[in-house]
């Protein structure tokens, strides 16, 4: 147990060192992709909790992200900025003058998203399977449509722009403080989920996934645990939404269509339903790949420019993954040291046997 803690801490340290190096050496484009990966890690890992571990197919993630993004934006913008944005209909008080720091705004964003998660989850999680998926998809869209229509709170379809980036990281002034916020949040998200899955709650979640009736017979409260998973999941989605808003600097309701949910679901499925490390890996791979494939669009090796080619290639890559790894990169297992050793050690071992 102790050995495990030490290795975990070492990994976190390694990640932080990598980030420091990245911050010093990478240009702003690569840093942006790095940050986006961090945000998607938060989205994917949190969605995996309810979809992968608890086995409840919910598709309302975009709605919770929207709640987080809007809450954060409305809390962090100053009154001048709000006045500029709300030129059609003024923002209702007290929101028009209220301004908080980055950290409280982000936490409140998460809490409000969690509350929304509870309000959506409590009735919807009584459903199962397809019905649950449809109901949550509907709730996600409802959230978006409410945001479109409440113009005096969210500025409706005009969206908000000029959302400021944080200029400090826990009161330390830094150049790329947003990167630190995003990645610290991502690390906390991953660690929290790993610990949660290892706890008794996590076992209850998995028990529900495997067999609801058996779990219930063993004394696991279905409703309590499902709602708990949903609330935690939406809390982190809200945090991620806040960070996304801060990263892009502008939001509007159309950003939070169900396609956003599908994008995250795609990451979760590629990574493996029920694997936090899988979701993490696949969030990075998918985000980086989408950008790295951009050269395909711009005409390469003498081919003419063909916008959209990268989507085709991306789809082929997905096919390869789905064909050879129907359970995703990691299945429902976690990446461990012994697994890594097996992965890289085995081909050579196998070769020797063949000889």
């Amino acid at each position: 147990m102790k050995k495990k803690t030490i290795t975990s801490l070492l990994i976190i340290l390694a990640v932080i060192i990598c980030l420091i190096i990245a911050q010093r050496t990478l240009d702003s484009f690569s840093l942006r992709i790095l940050n986006l990966s961090g945000v998607y890690i938060i989205f994917a890992v949190s969605m995996n909790l309810i979809n992968g571990f608890t086995g409840q197919l919910t598709l309302g993630h975009a709605g919770f992200i929207a709640v987080g993004a809007y809450t954060y934006s409305l809390l962090i913008m100053d009154s001048d900025l709000k006045q500029m944005n709300f030129f059609l209909k003024p923002l209702i008080s007290p929101l028009d003058t209220l301004q908080l720091g980055f950290f409280p705004a982000m936490i409140i964003a998460g809490l409000l998203a969690a509350l929304t998660g509870f309000l959506v989850g409590a009735p919807a999680l009584r459903l199962r399977g397809d019905y649950l998926a449809i109901a949550t998809l509907g709730f996600g869209e409802i959230i978006r449509i409410i945001f479109t229509n409440t113009q005096s709170i969210t500025n409706g379809s005009l969206g908000l722009k000029g959302i400021p980036k944080p200029d400090n990281f826990f009161f330390i002034k830094m150049d790329n403080s947003l990167m630190w916020w995003i990645w610290v949040a991502a690390i906390i998200t991953v660690v929290f989920h790993l610990l949660l899955i290892d706890s008794s709650y996590g076992r209850a979640f998995k028990a529900i996934r495997e067999d609801e009736k058996a779990a219930q017979a063993m004394g696991v409260s279905l409703f309590k645990h499902k709602v708990m998973a949903m609330v935690i999941s939406s809390f982190f989605a809200g945090i991620g939404g806040a960070l996304l808003a801060s990263l892009i600097g502008t939001i509007d309701p159309l950003m939070f269509r169900f396609t956003l949910t599908y994008n995250i679901l795609l990451i979760v499925v590629i990574g493996g339903m029920g694997s936090t490390s899988g979701a993490t890996i696949s969030a990075i791979v998918v985000t980086v790949l989408m950008e790295a494939l951009r050269f395909l669009d711009q005409g390469f090796l003498g081919l003419p420019e063909l916008p959209g080619l990268r989507m085709v290639v991306f789809a082929i890559l997905l096919l390869i993954v789905v064909l050879f790894y129907p359970k995703g990169i990691m299945g429902n297992e976690e990446l461990t040291w012994s697994k890594l050793r097996r992965l890289f050690g085995k081909p050579f071992a196998a070769k020797e046997v063949n000889r």
Partner: protein, 399 residues
């Protein structure tokens, strides 16, 4: 097991190729540009090329709009391929009709491609995502058809060659007040579309001012993008007995609204904005949309300027069809940037920005462009009417 290993190897090999080809090295992208780059090496150094970035939705929901705009830009590039004795190279980046991708695309254009200026994008929300990045990196951006006032507001590096929603709303209010003699209007707007919401608001403001009657808007109803059934909205609007219905929104939904209104026996005039100018509007609306009036940027029937004539001829020659407004605007955006580079005498983005900001009485294909202090174009609007299944030019309205 063997298969799996092959899959892994394939994936890893692909990743490595991708990463090397896409050029993680920043400036040194020897392999990235492929043919184009080799040509440059043959003729000289990178210095001989001035790069202008274009970020447009080439895939996704708004791909059609983005493609039309790119057509105009590419045509302009063909007709005016050089500035200051150097070739202008367009670098087109797809933003996938997605805000996050739009921000990525623009960062890429600035960081990796080192563009001097950027054109884009169809869809105000994508432009808004690009705004802060352009501002931070001090690269001027000229939007072709982004009409949301927020795009340029508070951003010294963002400009546009189209008029903004407030002007269009005013034009339509003036038209229904003066030409149609309307004193009471109903609004049916696509509430999930920033453009429609803005238009409706400015129409209301001007119309209230003109009539002097705070209750001149007798009904104000909303619908969502993708709705199919509008009887409730039409009922509400018709019961208030307006003289005219103003229905800004997407062409599909608007055509359906007009069709359903006519079926319900609502025969008052229905007006809208530039989004209606799409073949689908006529196809879906059929006979019902006859007589519908809307404002737009440009007409191919009556050339507005000399440049329009050149544009129209060349466009018809190249693409064998009638150009849309956004194609003309994309064309203009390119010309404005090119003229600014010429005047600045260098490809320094900040100097180019200063020259773009000074643009005055610039003769473009879609009218004469003067940029105001916000970077918005002050230019004339065109009114069109549907007659015999065609968009027919009515009149030009000066700002």
């Amino acid at each position: 097991m063997f298969k799996k290993r092959i899959a892994w190897l394939l994936l890893i090999a692909f990743l490595i190729i991708t990463l090397t080809v896409s050029g993680c090295g920043g400036n040194n992208q020897s392999a990235g540009g492929g043919k184009q780059e080799q040509q440059n090496e043959a003729t000289g150094t990178e210095e001989d090329v001035i790069k202008i970035g274009v970020f447009e939705p080439m895939t996704g929901a708004n791909a059609a709009g983005g493609a039309m705009e790119v057509e105009g830009i590419q045509l302009a590039n063909e007709l005016y391929p050089e500035v200051l004795g150097k070739k202008i190279k367009l670098v087109i980046a797809d933003n996938k009709s997605d805000k996050v991708e739009a921000a990525n695309a623009v960062t890429r254009l600035i960081e990796k491609e080192k563009v001097v200026a950027i054109i884009g994008s169809w869809g105000s929300s994508f432009s808004m995502a690009a705004g802060p990045i352009a501002k931070d990196n001090q690269i001027p951006v000229v939007a072709a058809s982004a009409t949301n006032p927020l795009v340029t507001l508070g951003n010294d590096f963002y400009f546009r060659v189209c008029f903004i929603d407030p002007f269009q709303g005013r034009v339509m209010a003036n038209y229904v007040y003066n030409e149609l003699g309307a004193r009471k209007a109903a609004i049916i707007k696509e509430v999930s579309n920033d453009y429609a919401v803005g238009l409706a608001k400015f129409f209301t403001d001007t119309f209230t001012e003109l009539t002097g009657d705070p209750n001149c808007i007798v009904a104000n109803v909303d619908y969502q993008t993708g709705d199919q059934e509008f009887s409730a909205q039409i009922q509400t609007a018709a019961q208030a007995k307006p003289d005219v219905i103003f229905a800004p929104g997407n062409f599909t939904e608007s055509a359906l609204i007009i069709k359903q209104a006519r079926e319900q026996g609502v025969n008052i005039p229905i007006c809208g904005g530039d989004t209606w100018e799409a073949p689908e509007f006529l196809e879906i609306g059929g006979k019902a949309v006859e007589g519908a009036v809307f404002s737009t940027f440009f007409t191919s029937e009556v050339p507005i300027t000399e440049e329009s004539e050149k544009f129209l001829n060349e466009y018809r020659k190249k693409y064998n069809q009638e150009p849309s407004s956004v194609a003309a605007l994309g064309y203009d955006a390119y010309l404005v940037i090119r003229a600014a580079i010429e005047k600045a005498g260098s490809a320094d983005p900040v100097k180019v920005r200063d020259e773009i900001a000074k643009t005055k009485d610039f003769v473009g294909a879609a009218g004469i462009i003067t940029l105001d202090e916000n970077g918005d174009a002050v230019k004339s609007a065109v009114l069109k009417k549907v007659q015999d299944g065609k968009f027919v030019y009515q009149t030009t309205i000066e700002p």
